[in-house]
Every structure is written in structure tokens, then in C-alpha cells.
Symmetry: C4
Subunit: 307 residues, 4 copies
Amino acid sequence: MTAHTWLPEGASAVACLTFDVDAETGILSMDAAAADHAMAISHQQFGPEIGVPRILDILRNLRVRATFFFPGWVAERRPALVGRIAEEGHEIGHHSYSHVPASSMTPEQEERDFARALDVFGTIGVPIHGHRAGLWEASWSTPSIVAAHGLAYDSSLMGRDAPYRVATPRGSIVELPPHWSLDDWEQYAFLPFPEIGQHIKNPADVLSMWTAEVDAMRRFGGLFMLTNHPFLTGRPARAVALEQLIGHIQDAGDVPILTGHELATHLSGLTLPVHAHVRPELEDGLFPGRYSPTSQRSMEPATSAGA
Amino acid sequence: MTAHTWLPEGASAVACLTFDVDAETGILSMDAAAADHAMAISHQQFGPEIGVPRILDILRNLRVRATFFFPGWVAERRPALVGRIAEEGHEIGHHSYSHVPASSMTPEQEERDFARALDVFGTIGVPIHGHRAGLWEASWSTPSIVAAHGLAYDSSLMGRDAPYRVATPRGSIVELPPHWSLDDWEQYAFLPFPEIGQHIKNPADVLSMWTAEVDAMRRFGGLFMLTNHPFLTGRPARAVALEQLIGHIQDAGDVPILTGHELATHLSGLTLPVHAHVRPELEDGLFPGRYSPTSQRSMEPATSAGA
Amino acid sequence: MTAHTWLPEGASAVACLTFDVDAETGILSMDAAAADHAMAISHQQFGPEIGVPRILDILRNLRVRATFFFPGWVAERRPALVGRIAEEGHEIGHHSYSHVPASSMTPEQEERDFARALDVFGTIGVPIHGHRAGLWEASWSTPSIVAAHGLAYDSSLMGRDAPYRVATPRGSIVELPPHWSLDDWEQYAFLPFPEIGQHIKNPADVLSMWTAEVDAMRRFGGLFMLTNHPFLTGRPARAVALEQLIGHIQDAGDVPILTGHELATHLSGLTLPVHAHVRPELEDGLFPGRYSPTSQRSMEPATSAGA
Amino acid sequence: MTAHTWLPEGASAVACLTFDVDAETGILSMDAAAADHAMAISHQQFGPEIGVPRILDILRNLRVRATFFFPGWVAERRPALVGRIAEEGHEIGHHSYSHVPASSMTPEQEERDFARALDVFGTIGVPIHGHRAGLWEASWSTPSIVAAHGLAYDSSLMGRDAPYRVATPRGSIVELPPHWSLDDWEQYAFLPFPEIGQHIKNPADVLSMWTAEVDAMRRFGGLFMLTNHPFLTGRPARAVALEQLIGHIQDAGDVPILTGHELATHLSGLTLPVHAHVRPELEDGLFPGRYSPTSQRSMEPATSAGA
């Protein structure tokens, strides 16, 4: 068993509580036609309107700080909500502008989308230290874009379950890895069009699974990176389960709850494993499908029917 | 924590028990070819023939009133069943004529479908106070159509988990929001063609999830809007779980069970949050897919092969 | 609560244990290309080779009789297995010849397929009293074909959860209705190609769900029609759960376990609800999709690439 | 109940713990375009980088030996990892070169792919005794290729749940059958592109299901062939559940844990059931779909967009 030198003194693991406030972009980024579906849009608006205030209440009562990742599109339309969250001591994170997956853009498109969101956050006046790709669908350019714009960390890649460093041509960043198994989307997302999933798990079962994961993280010295969505976890029984999960983490006594920024700051002077993070080169004809070694991306940039 | 001024005196939450009697339209509205599938049609007919009488027995024994939403097509073919339900003191609700999603119709088609169902209910002689869109797939026109025809409430949108008001050009209505997590379709619906789902959950687990939701609703002052389908929940072990769920609500002591109409009447003199409910305007080319700002709807009206 | 006049004296419900020995036809009837997939074929052959003998042992130990539905194609290739099952006192049922859904055939094709299977059973020398459509996908012609060939019952339709009678132009038959929730396919079937499902439930949970269903059937006077597949339930922990389920039924004391034939014989002199079982007539253009009132079937008959 | 003559003396069942180290090939073999998806690639790289060392620790602590199946492509890029696993006393197995399903190749392509992987293992210097097809998608040629190259066993087919022998034109081999219900893929695999599954089960439930399977295997004298993937089961709570599962097997006292090679060696002198393992001949036009009796395979060999 290796020593977990990245851990704060006395800690067996670290927990980050993160909330992706996707709102309408959670479905518009899959298919713009979702805008015609009134119920689906209302389903997404529940997040910022009801889910976020309810989660803020819970965090305040438990005296913990969290990171709220906003697509720029959502922050632009709800600057007061962004401001309120920041005033309560939480971190605001960069979650792209449009929530359209970076893996479907050219590097130039991705960097424009990235900068556009930064402009929004700048106008609102909140500092940005970390980034998470829409749908976690980072491209091979994402880390270098994050580094070039001076952010401290990214939270999209899954190469480890503890923090690591990604070296890029434009500087290195800290990676705070999330994982599908610690995301409420795979537990609770249900919507037929756009189909975002068919998941309606019992919150009691989710709580049981995630408390066991906290305990296992303590054994292996891992980062419990929780990703929740206010439009999902903001619903009553799920919010109660979230509260109980946080209580479990606090009761453990050796799992500090940090924002992404707090953790990245702690790590800034430490030696971490370094990943080069480069696209695998593929032998021609070995694997089926659409990969071409000479193209940068496999998908065309998104365009609307009206374009 | 805000005061929940919409709640009846002494109540911590309110429960509405609603049953969507889709019968054959539950699958014909997905694909008319379902009419060729004898087993699938029999599967749907179980609802009005066995499921509804069984549920009525349970409601009578527990002395609670519920709301039964009927597509006009179903009511037209089973007027005696509609009459019997009304005579037992339950509310009959408007569930479109054909169960075809409003989001796939033009506003004119939707209003014709809406009026046609009203005619059916008028002929049968049952009063109509509330509406629910087929598949909850309300269009941006749905609330104004509901308001224009003088109904008190709609139950299709999910912007909150407590009642709110929707302002429309043709008047305002009360919204009594449902949610995917309180619908038996996502727990029990299984049929390969048309594929309505692949869900066969253990009724004991569903009961556990929903009683926890009742309890969480009491904490947050929410509306426990249960949506069940007699062709699904009318099956034996599921009907028993429904009975136990109602018993749990009654035992709570502070969660009155009201019909949609009773709740809308209670709310009529109160101040509720108001939602404007307008379609988001999208920047050209930002999101992928079929959205066009100049079209009202993204899908063509449905036509049969024989048309 | 109505009296359940169909029940044998002293019985609160009746259980039928049925096993569909689909073997290779379970996947070939979905796509003949499955024949190229060696693992998938071996996965299906487990049913007759290991699953059936294991289930026979369990039935013998518990002294219960069951009904084994065979596609004619499977019986033709394994006459000794059919004979052994019959010799142990179980019933052999008719499960089409090819397991291709009747709803995809013309009435003439369906009747030829039906007769061909009868010929196989005649050659083997086992009497046939009941029928179940492949995938339960009965056509509107199925009941009349079953009646015309002198069988006593069908077990494909789901209009009730107790036996009923289907009147056809060629005579009436008893329907012993199955249901998706009492089928092991929806609990255990997993195969990517052809994709037969993605279900791997814990047998302990399945046992819990089905014992609760037995108890609920006792309350409502229902028919507990269990459908299992030896290639699925023949696996070790699932076979043990089946054994425990049968033990639970026996312990109830008021739920006799009958073969389909025994139950149909008991019902032959009784008055049952009668269903006319006719295809719904659809208004032109009301529902989307492929339905045409002038066509008998919506799908072309199946043909292989080599035809 | 037949005597289980294949079992080692004193054993009621046998357990094999196998780990398929698919790494990047787990998704590249589905679609080469996966190479453009940085997060997805990092998700797969977790397997060899974090998952394997963690699993090795657990195996060492519990003093058990396992079999690690490597695609040649993965072994070629990580020879040190292969060497370390072998040095710790575990078996290295052959898992094709590219992980592309054998059922999508011609026999010539399959044999070239097979030999290429053997070359890789030869260069690294690890002996190879057993084979498992990518995705278990063996072709009808697979067993004869395995036999021709002198391997002792295959572990891809599912005709039994105890070892059996497959006779081929090029010699006979032992089959050590896996099954979907004992694979972590169906419990834990979640990735939207390429879509590898939507499964995130609670490890506690998986543990409960698999310990019951161990117990049932003891009753029926079966082979508990566990297939796990380090990129899935290497995650913290899942690794802990694996450890508890192994503990359960050890506590049973009559279930020896053997590598595939150890088991095949034990079986080499025994009489086992023999399967001929030939493709079923299909009557023209009986089943729908793409099968053609004159073609060897139904799918074209895979080619990349750049070819």
C-alpha cells in the first residue's frame, strides 16, 4: 500500500461536493429541439429555481462549502443566483459556455466557448479557479486550454481516483477526477426527450452505495468527488439523502470536505503523479469505426437547423 | 426556509392520488401499428377492465377521493366506467383526446384535440376542472388552451414541487406539478412493442421509495402528486403496495389527500409563485439539432399510413 | 369484492408453473444471424441441456407438475427430452414451430406454422392441450387457430389476471393469462447480440417480488402464471430461488399448483367472463405510425437473406 | 443428481478469479472514434494503472492466485505490468490481440489476430495456456484455433456451468465456461460513448448476489467463473466487495480457488462431457434476418475510416 502523500494531515480521504447547475443547457446541448418541449424545459428549470436554494439551505445548516459549476449560458441568465451562491462562501466553477461536449468541437471552437464563459463570470465578478467539461466530455485539448487561461484545476478525467497532475504544452494543471459512480445523473435522470436516461433509483439505496464508497475511499486514500445536479438531487427525498451523506462524511472525522479550489491550493506545492494525456495512436484498420489519424475530431461541429 | 403559505391549515404537505386511464391510447399514441398486436392491446385493456375496479375498491375502503384522468378516446368508448367513477365521488380529469403528445401538434391541432375531449366529457355529463397532457408532453400553448377553456388547473409541468401559477395570454391557471419519480410508469412499464419501457421493479421497493418521498415532502412543504396507471398498478402486488402507501399518508396525520379540483379550489384565493412559461430563445448555431427559431414546433403532425 | 367462482374449492388462488424451452429459437427468431454467434448459441443450448434436467429434479423433489412449452423446432431436434419430461408427469405445451412472433405473419403463415408444430408433437407422441405464442405476440387470429385445432387453452393474452374465455369464429377457448411481471426474461435475460435484454437481477430480489405476488394473488383470487426459461432460471442461484418460490406456494396451503391442462379441465364446465378479442378500429389519421385499416398485418413476413 | 466427477477431492465447487485487462481496447474495439474521447480513454486507463495494482494487493493479502486475460495490444504497451503480475504467481491469459469480436472476422483474420497476440506474449516471455474471446464473442472457428496453437483451455462459451470438452478438427480443448451473471460489466459498466452499458449497481448488492451464487454452485457442483475488469472493479467500494467475496469463498472451505491453468491441468486426465460445437443449419426463410447458409460470417471485417 503506497503512502497517500497528497492527503491533508490527519485525513484518510478528501470529499468535494460539486453541483453542476446545467439548467436548460443540460438538454439543449443534446438537441436544440428540446426548446419546443415545455415540460422538459420546466423539468430543467427546477434546478436553479428550487433545487439550488434547497441545497444551499442544507449546506448552510451543515456548515460545509461546495463548488457549483455553471455553464456560462446559465450564469449569464441568472447572475443573481451566481452571486448569492458565491456570497454564501461557495466556489463557482467553469462548466463551458454551452454545455456542448468539447469532444464534438474543434480546438478553436472549444477555446472560443471557454473564453466566452470566462467573460460571463468576469462580468458577474466571481473568480474562477476550476473547470469541468460538459458531460465530462473533455477533448485532448481541454487541459491545455484550462492551463493557458490560468485555472488551477480541471475535474473531467478519470485516470485515477485521487488527484493527479496533467502536463500540457501550455502548462500543467491539477486533475480532480470525478466518476460515473459518484454522479446523481446515473441514479436519478429520467426524461424521454431528449432521452437523458431512464434512472429512478431509490434515494435510500443511493445513500447506502455512496456511504460505502466514502468508507472505501478512506481505506484507499481516495478523493470522494461527488457530482450532483440540482434539477435531480434538489427533489425532496434526494435532498434528504444528500444531507445524510454529508452527515456520514462529517461523522467519519478524517474526511475533510473541501471545495475544488481549496483542494487545488493545498496540492499546489506537492508532488503528484503526472499524466501526459495524449491521444492513443491507432494502427490503420485494426479497430472498426470512424477514427482517422489525420483528423483532429471525429464529429462535425454542431449546427442548428436554422443555420 | 420559507413559509409554505399554500398549505391548508395544519398540513405539512398535500397528496393528490391521480390515475391516468390511458387504456389502448397508451400505446396507440406511440404507434398506431400497436393495433395489430393483440397481446399488447389486451395488456392495455386490463387497466379499465380490472385495474380501475380494483383501485376503486381500495379507495372506497380507505375513504379517499382521487382524480382519474381520461383521454377522450377512452371515455367515449367507456362512458359507464367514467360515470361509475364520478358517482363514487372521484374527479374526472381531461387527458387530451388521443393521448398523442401536444408537443407534436400545431397549436390549432392541439386546441381541436382538446375541445373534442371536452365534448366527450360534456356528453357523458361529468364536469371537468383539470387537465394533464398526454405523456406530460405539454406544448408552450397548453396552459393558454387550458385557461381559455375555463379549467382551473393543469398537471403536466415540473417547474416546482409545490403548486404555482402559470400566466398565459388567455388567463392564468394553477399548475399542480407531477414528476417522473412519482409515476408508476418508470417503475412498472414493460412492453417490447411499442416499447413503453423495460421497468419491472419490486413493489416493495417502490413503496419504500414513495413513503420516503411522502416524509421528505412533509419537511419541504411539497405536493406529493402521485401518478399511477391502472394497467400497471392494478396488478395484484402493486395494488397492495398502493394501499399501503395511502395508509402511510393517512397515518402521517398532516398530509391531507385532495383531488386536483379540491386543491385548486383551496388555492384559488391564495398568492402563488407565478411562472411566465415561455420558450427559451436560442442563439443560432449554439446548440446542435433540429431547433429553428422561426418554427412553432419541431415535429410534423402525426399521420397514419392510411392517410 | 366479487366472488371468485373459477377457483377450485378451498383455493384462494391457483399457480401454474410454466417453462418455455426456447433453446436456439429464442434468439434465431429475432435474427437468423445469431447462428453465427457461437457463444450466443451455446448460451441458449444451456437451457435444454442443463437447465431442464435441473428443473426436473427440483419439481420431482417437491412433487409438483408443470407445463413445458416447446417450439416445434426445438422438440423436433430433442424428442428424447420431450419424452422424458412427459414421462415424469408434466404437460407439454405448443409454443409455435419457429418462435417467430405470430403478429409478424399472415393468418395463413401462422396457421401453417401452428400445424407444423402439431405434426412434430404428434410424431413424438405427446398430447397437446394448450398453446402459447412466441414472445406472447399473439395475433388477432391466434385464438381462432387454437380453437380450430381443438386445443383447450391459450396462455398469451393479458386482459385479466384470472382465467377468462375468448370467443372466436371457430369456437371458444380458455385464456390462462401470463404477465411480464411473472416472467424470468425481464429479470435475468442478458445478451448483447441479438439483444434479448440487459437484465441481471439478484435472484433473492426476484424471489421476494414473486412471493409477494403470490400473497397478493391470494387476496384478489388471481392466477399466478409463472413463466420461466430453462436457459435463464436453470442457472444455480436462480434455480434455488425457484425452488424456494415453489416452497412458499406450497406452504400457503390454499394455492394449488396445476398444469395448464389440469386448470383448463377444471374450468371447462364453469362460467367465465368472455372477451370478444377484436382489433380496435382506428380513425384515419388520429394516431401516428404505420397502421392501415385495410391491411391484416403491419409487418412483412420474415425472410432470410438467402431466400 | 449426477456425481460431479470433475471436482477435486473434497471440493463442492471450484472458483476461478479472472480479470480481463481490456484497458483502451475495451472501447476502441467497439468504435475507433473512441480515441478522440479523452475522458473515455482515461476511464479505461484507470484499469491497468490503478485497478490492477489494487487488485494485486488484495489477492496477495488473501494468498490467492488468479488469471489475468490481456489483449495482445494492451500487453504490448505494458510489458512491465504483465511481468509483474506473472511474477506474483498469477496466470496470464490470451484475450485476442485487438479485442475485436472474433464473430466479426473471417477465420483467417481471427487466426492472424490470435497469432499476433501469441507473439506479444512470447516476446514478453510469459507462458500462455488459456484463451478468452473478446466480448466472449467466440466464432465457430475459435475452439479449433485455440486447439491448433496448443492451448489447454478456452473460457468463452456457456453451454454448461461446469467444465466440458470441445472437440474440434484440430484437437480438443477444455472449456471453462463464464456467464453474464458472474461478470462485473453487467453490474458496473457505464459510459455513454461508446456506450458500454448503463449499469451502476450497489457493490453491496453485487456481493450479495455473488455470494448466493457461490453457495448455489456448491449445491450443483458448478464452476464459479468470475470475470472482472480492473477499470470497473478496481474502484474503491467495488474492490472491497471483491475482497469480501473472496473471503466468502475461502470461508466455505470446500471451494478451492484455482487459476484457469491449474484447473485445466487437473481436468486433463478426466472424462468430461464433450460438445461438438457446430453451427446450427437453418432452413431457408424460416427465421428473419441476415443469416445465409453459404456465408461463413454475417459481418464484414472491420475497417477504419482511414483505410
